[in-house]
Symmetry: C2
Subunit: 255 residues, 2 copies
């Protein structure tokens, strides 16, 4: 196994290669999570604001995040809650690991944007319309997808940190000038982005096929989610938002 | 999409074919969930009983089930909590759908057995030893796997009901005699079980491969979980426990 999403909040063992391996493994998680969400139709009533604290999905996800917070989940700099306001403190204080990340960048959290994008733009692209009444499993599935996307996008902090450490002299002039465009240019490699988009499309084909015992590799023409949608999700949102996180992180790297 | 796990608590639309399609789709969910759990090592401290209400994993899962219960999840006869004792009532009363299942069988819940099997026997088969500190994501992932296994196994109620409705005269003598062995014989089709075991092994190969952009279909010799383990999980636990649920259900079918 190339990556386990593990104890990477120490300075040891994190390299551009381990970060890339983690991103590649996270692609599988994202594709699995979207395929699993597509088992349910849109289930619009789960998103109607009808309960005191918002929609059913929002209320369920807020309460689950409170459970996770008490158990210490968000002490890990790879984890970002969608509702950070008012979360309970961990019941036990975790060991304070030295963090690989620069402290000024740790608090960056763009989950509000990810939340809106997911519900307003992304979901309608890959789930069918309709209502099957399974609102709570749907919300659980949304949370899994949101977490997978959020983890990938905020992993930009680790990408930025390894790139900065590899060649601080390349980044420092743009950081001192607080020049977002220059940083974005330094962080953009179109050929790599093309490769990522092709690979996630292929993963959607492989993981979304209906596997049967007949000869051949299953019914490949009937994918559980449209592979081009997954490629588009990466092109339009995952890759740009990851780079936004990288830029935000680097802008604070000399604080 | 062949199955969405949807509104099947009405009498309409459930046939042996829809039940089979649902079971086949659930195989994908089970394989995905085991692959995702294998991202983390065993993480033994998550299972040490050290918090007031048991281990960290147990405490997190109990609290999440309470969130789900309040939101009405367990009103659906396809859903079975692992900790049914003392769950809060739903905040809003759901519409009372007519249920497809015979009322006497709805309360069957063998999740205690599934819980023990999962942690004591199944987990050590497919996760590596070690501790990466990601206890809460690990517990979340355990819950997803447990739910997938539980849903599949308790779907035996639907299997039993459609089979009974198709040919009540085949089952009634054994039910009246409360003859478990006779019922088990009536419900056992070895060739079907062999096919299921082969198919889940193939799914583990397809879904667990490392997909790359090179020619060929990725590195098929380096699966994320051992496909033969998935086949064994079905042979030793999923198939027998599903049949146990079927038998228990049928024993109560004439109450």
């Amino acid at each position: 196994m190339s990556s386990n999403g593990g104890n990477q909040d120490s300075t040891g063992g994190i390299t551009l290669q381990t970060v890339r391996d983690a991103l590649i493994r996270q692609e599988d998680t994202i594709v699995f999570s979207l395929i699993e969400r597509s088992r349910f139709p849109l289930n619009h009533p789960a998103y109607n604001a009808s309960m005191a604290s918002g929609s059913l999905a929002e209320s369920v996800i807020r309460e689950i995040e409170a459970v996770y917070a008490k158990a210490g989940r968000y002490e890990n700099p790879e984890e970002h809650p969608f509702f950070p306001e008012g979360l309970p403190l961990p019941a036990t204080s975790p060991p304070k690991n030295e963090t690989f990340l620069h402290p000024a960048g740790i608090s960056i959290n763009i989950n509000k944007d990810i939340w809106s994008l997911y519900f307003e733009k992304l979901l309608p692209l890959f789930v069918v319309g309709g209502d099957d009444g399974n609102y709570v499993p749907t919300a659980q599935s949304d949370l899994t997808s949101l977490q997978a996307l959020s983890r990938r996008i905020h992993y930009g902090k680790f990408v930025a940190e390894v790139k900065y450490r590899d060649a601080p002299e390349d980044y420092e002039p743009a950081i001192r000038a607080q020049d977002r465009n220059a940083l974005m240019k330094l962080l953009t490699f179109e050929s790599v982005e093309e490769m990522v988009k092709k690979r996630v499309e292929k993963k959607a084909m492989v993981f979304g096929q209906n596997v049967t015992l007949g000869s051949g590799d299953g019914n490949k023409t009937n994918y559980k989610i449209d592979p081009s949608v997954v490629s588009r999700v990466y092109e339009d949102w995952v890759i740009p938002l990851t780079k936004d996180v990288e830029v935000e992180y680097l802008l604070r790297r000399l604080e």
